[in-house]
Symmetry: C2
Protein backbone atom coordinates (compact mmCIF):
# COMPACT_ATOMS: atom_id res chain seq x y z
CA UNK A 1 0.00 0.00 0.00
CA UNK A 2 1.67 3.16 -1.33
CA UNK A 3 -0.12 5.67 0.90
CA UNK A 4 0.78 3.85 4.08
CA UNK A 5 4.34 3.34 2.90
CA UNK A 6 4.65 7.09 2.29
CA UNK A 7 3.14 7.90 5.70
CA UNK A 8 5.53 5.49 7.43
CA UNK A 9 8.45 7.03 5.54
CA UNK A 10 7.55 10.62 6.41
CA UNK A 11 7.11 9.84 10.10
CA UNK A 12 10.27 7.78 10.34
CA UNK A 13 12.42 10.37 8.55
CA UNK A 14 11.13 13.01 10.94
CA UNK A 15 12.07 10.89 13.94
CA UNK A 16 15.55 10.19 12.53
CA UNK A 17 16.33 13.82 11.62
CA UNK A 18 15.19 15.05 15.05
CA UNK A 19 17.28 12.34 16.70
CA UNK A 20 20.33 13.51 14.76
CA UNK A 21 19.67 17.14 15.74
CA UNK A 22 19.80 16.14 19.43
CA UNK A 23 22.85 13.88 19.11
CA UNK A 24 25.83 15.21 21.13
CA UNK A 25 27.98 17.83 19.39
CA UNK A 26 31.00 15.95 20.69
CA UNK A 27 29.93 12.34 21.37
CA UNK A 28 31.89 9.85 23.49
CA UNK A 29 33.02 6.64 21.84
CA UNK A 30 30.19 4.85 23.65
CA UNK A 31 27.62 7.29 22.23
CA UNK A 32 29.08 6.84 18.74
CA UNK A 33 28.87 3.08 19.04
CA UNK A 34 25.25 3.28 20.24
CA UNK A 35 24.21 5.43 17.28
CA UNK A 36 26.03 3.25 14.79
CA UNK A 37 24.41 0.08 16.14
CA UNK A 38 21.05 1.80 16.19
CA UNK A 39 21.24 2.75 12.51
CA UNK A 40 22.32 -0.76 11.49
CA UNK A 41 19.46 -2.29 13.45
CA UNK A 42 17.06 0.26 11.98
CA UNK A 43 18.13 -0.83 8.50
CA UNK A 44 17.25 -4.43 9.43
CA UNK A 45 13.99 -3.76 11.24
CA UNK A 46 12.48 -0.96 9.16
CA UNK A 47 9.02 -2.32 8.38
CA UNK A 48 8.97 -1.84 4.59
CA UNK A 49 10.97 -4.64 3.02
CA UNK A 50 12.18 -2.85 -0.15
CA UNK A 51 13.03 0.28 1.82
CA UNK A 52 15.03 -1.67 4.40
CA UNK A 53 16.96 -3.26 1.56
CA UNK A 54 17.80 0.16 0.06
CA UNK A 55 18.75 1.44 3.49
CA UNK A 56 21.19 -1.48 3.92
CA UNK A 57 22.72 -0.94 0.48
CA UNK A 58 23.22 2.69 1.33
CA UNK A 59 25.00 1.89 4.61
CA UNK A 60 27.32 -0.44 2.71
CA UNK A 61 28.21 2.09 0.02
CA UNK A 62 28.44 5.17 2.25
CA UNK A 63 30.03 4.46 5.64
CA UNK A 64 27.97 5.97 8.48
CA UNK A 65 29.52 9.06 10.00
CA UNK A 66 28.60 9.47 13.65
CA UNK A 67 31.71 11.45 14.68
CA UNK A 68 29.85 14.67 15.51
CA UNK A 69 26.27 15.94 15.51
CA UNK A 70 26.89 17.87 12.34
CA UNK A 71 28.31 14.85 10.53
CA UNK A 72 25.41 12.64 11.53
CA UNK A 73 22.86 15.27 10.45
CA UNK A 74 24.60 15.59 7.08
CA UNK A 75 24.88 11.83 6.69
CA UNK A 76 21.14 11.28 7.21
CA UNK A 77 20.23 14.25 5.05
CA UNK A 78 22.40 12.84 2.28
CA UNK A 79 20.84 9.40 2.64
CA UNK A 80 17.35 10.91 2.51
CA UNK A 81 18.37 12.79 -0.65
CA UNK A 82 19.51 9.53 -2.28
CA UNK A 83 16.04 8.08 -1.59
CA UNK A 84 14.44 11.33 -2.87
CA UNK A 85 16.40 11.03 -6.10
CA UNK A 86 15.38 7.41 -6.62
CA UNK A 87 11.73 8.46 -6.18
CA UNK A 88 12.05 11.61 -8.35
CA UNK A 89 11.49 13.92 -5.40
CA UNK A 90 13.29 17.27 -5.06
CA UNK A 91 16.66 17.44 -3.34
CA UNK A 92 16.65 19.00 0.14
CA UNK A 93 19.22 21.67 1.00
CA UNK A 94 21.25 20.04 3.77
CA UNK A 95 22.51 23.41 5.03
CA UNK A 96 19.00 23.81 6.48
CA UNK A 97 18.74 20.45 8.16
CA UNK A 98 19.71 21.46 11.70
CA UNK A 99 17.40 24.47 11.89
CA UNK A 100 14.53 22.47 10.35
CA UNK A 101 14.66 19.63 12.86
CA UNK A 102 15.98 21.02 16.11
CA UNK A 103 12.84 20.44 18.15
CA UNK A 104 14.01 21.50 21.62
CA UNK A 105 11.75 18.85 23.10
Amino acid sequence: NETLRAQLGRRTWYFMHVMASRYPVDPTSDEKQAMKSFLFLMSRLYPCGDCAHHFQQHLKRHPINVDTRDKLEQYLCGMHNVVNKSLNKPEFNCAEVHSTYDCGC
Copy 2:
Protein backbone atom coordinates in the same frame (compact mmCIF):
# COMPACT_ATOMS: atom_id res chain seq x y z
CA ASN B 1 8.34 22.94 23.18
CA GLU B 2 5.18 20.90 23.91
CA THR B 3 3.75 20.86 20.39
CA LEU B 4 6.93 19.54 18.86
CA ARG B 5 7.31 16.99 21.63
CA ALA B 6 3.79 15.73 20.94
CA GLN B 7 4.44 15.58 17.20
CA LEU B 8 7.66 13.66 17.73
CA GLY B 9 5.84 11.26 20.07
CA ARG B 10 2.97 10.59 17.65
CA ARG B 11 5.29 9.91 14.73
CA THR B 12 7.64 7.72 16.73
CA TRP B 13 4.83 5.63 18.26
CA TYR B 14 3.45 5.07 14.78
CA PHE B 15 6.81 3.86 13.52
CA MET B 16 7.25 1.53 16.51
CA HIS B 17 3.76 0.00 16.33
CA VAL B 18 4.10 -0.60 12.56
CA MET B 19 7.52 -2.14 13.15
CA ALA B 20 6.01 -4.52 15.72
CA SER B 21 3.18 -5.46 13.34
CA ARG B 22 5.78 -6.56 10.74
CA TYR B 23 8.04 -8.39 13.20
CA PRO B 24 8.20 -12.15 12.47
CA VAL B 25 5.39 -14.27 13.92
CA ASP B 26 8.04 -16.77 14.92
CA PRO B 27 11.38 -14.92 15.16
CA THR B 28 14.81 -16.59 15.23
CA SER B 29 17.03 -15.95 18.24
CA ASP B 30 19.03 -13.56 16.09
CA GLU B 31 15.89 -11.59 15.20
CA LYS B 32 14.87 -11.48 18.87
CA GLN B 33 18.29 -10.18 19.87
CA ALA B 34 18.18 -7.51 17.15
CA MET B 35 14.78 -6.23 18.32
CA LYS B 36 15.80 -6.24 21.96
CA SER B 37 18.98 -4.27 21.24
CA PHE B 38 17.03 -1.89 19.05
CA LEU B 39 14.54 -1.06 21.79
CA PHE B 40 17.30 -0.53 24.37
CA LEU B 41 19.16 1.79 22.01
CA MET B 42 15.92 3.59 21.19
CA SER B 43 15.43 4.25 24.90
CA ARG B 44 18.89 5.84 25.01
CA LEU B 45 18.69 7.84 21.80
CA TYR B 46 15.08 9.01 21.81
CA PRO B 47 15.44 12.78 21.36
CA CYS B 48 13.28 14.00 24.24
CA GLY B 49 15.29 13.71 27.42
CA ASP B 50 12.43 13.18 29.92
CA CYS B 51 10.69 10.73 27.60
CA ALA B 52 13.86 8.69 27.10
CA HIS B 53 14.20 8.52 30.86
CA HIS B 54 10.63 7.21 31.26
CA PHE B 55 11.21 4.74 28.45
CA GLN B 56 14.30 3.40 30.26
CA GLN B 57 12.46 3.10 33.58
CA HIS B 58 9.73 1.18 31.82
CA LEU B 59 12.17 -1.27 30.25
CA LYS B 60 13.66 -1.90 33.70
CA ARG B 61 10.32 -2.52 35.40
CA HIS B 62 8.68 -4.50 32.60
CA PRO B 63 11.08 -6.87 30.82
CA ILE B 64 10.77 -6.57 27.03
CA ASN B 65 8.98 -9.46 25.40
CA VAL B 66 10.17 -10.09 21.86
CA ASP B 67 9.33 -13.82 21.74
CA THR B 68 6.63 -13.51 19.07
CA ARG B 69 5.03 -10.77 16.97
CA ASP B 70 1.95 -10.82 19.15
CA LYS B 71 3.98 -10.47 22.36
CA LEU B 72 5.98 -7.55 20.99
CA GLU B 73 2.83 -5.78 19.77
CA GLN B 74 1.23 -6.22 23.20
CA TYR B 75 4.39 -5.09 24.98
CA LEU B 76 4.61 -1.84 23.04
CA CYS B 77 0.87 -1.22 23.31
CA GLY B 78 1.15 -1.68 27.08
CA MET B 79 4.13 0.65 27.28
CA HIS B 80 2.27 3.29 25.25
CA ASN B 81 -0.69 2.91 27.63
CA VAL B 82 1.57 3.54 30.62
CA VAL B 83 2.68 6.80 28.99
CA ASN B 84 -0.98 7.61 28.14
CA LYS B 85 -1.92 7.14 31.77
CA SER B 86 0.86 9.39 33.02
CA LEU B 87 -0.35 12.10 30.61
CA ASN B 88 -4.06 11.58 31.41
CA LYS B 89 -4.81 10.26 27.92
CA PRO B 90 -7.34 7.49 27.28
CA GLU B 91 -6.24 3.86 27.38
CA PHE B 92 -6.01 2.14 23.99
CA ASN B 93 -7.62 -1.29 23.53
CA CYS B 94 -4.65 -3.52 22.76
CA ALA B 95 -6.85 -6.16 21.13
CA GLU B 96 -7.00 -3.73 18.19
CA VAL B 97 -3.33 -3.01 17.89
CA HIS B 98 -2.47 -5.44 15.11
CA SER B 99 -5.32 -4.44 12.81
CA THR B 100 -4.66 -0.74 13.46
CA TYR B 101 -1.01 -0.81 12.48
CA ASP B 102 -0.55 -3.57 9.93
CA CYS B 103 0.46 -1.33 7.06
CA GLY B 104 1.28 -3.95 4.39
CA CYS B 105 3.98 -1.64 3.08
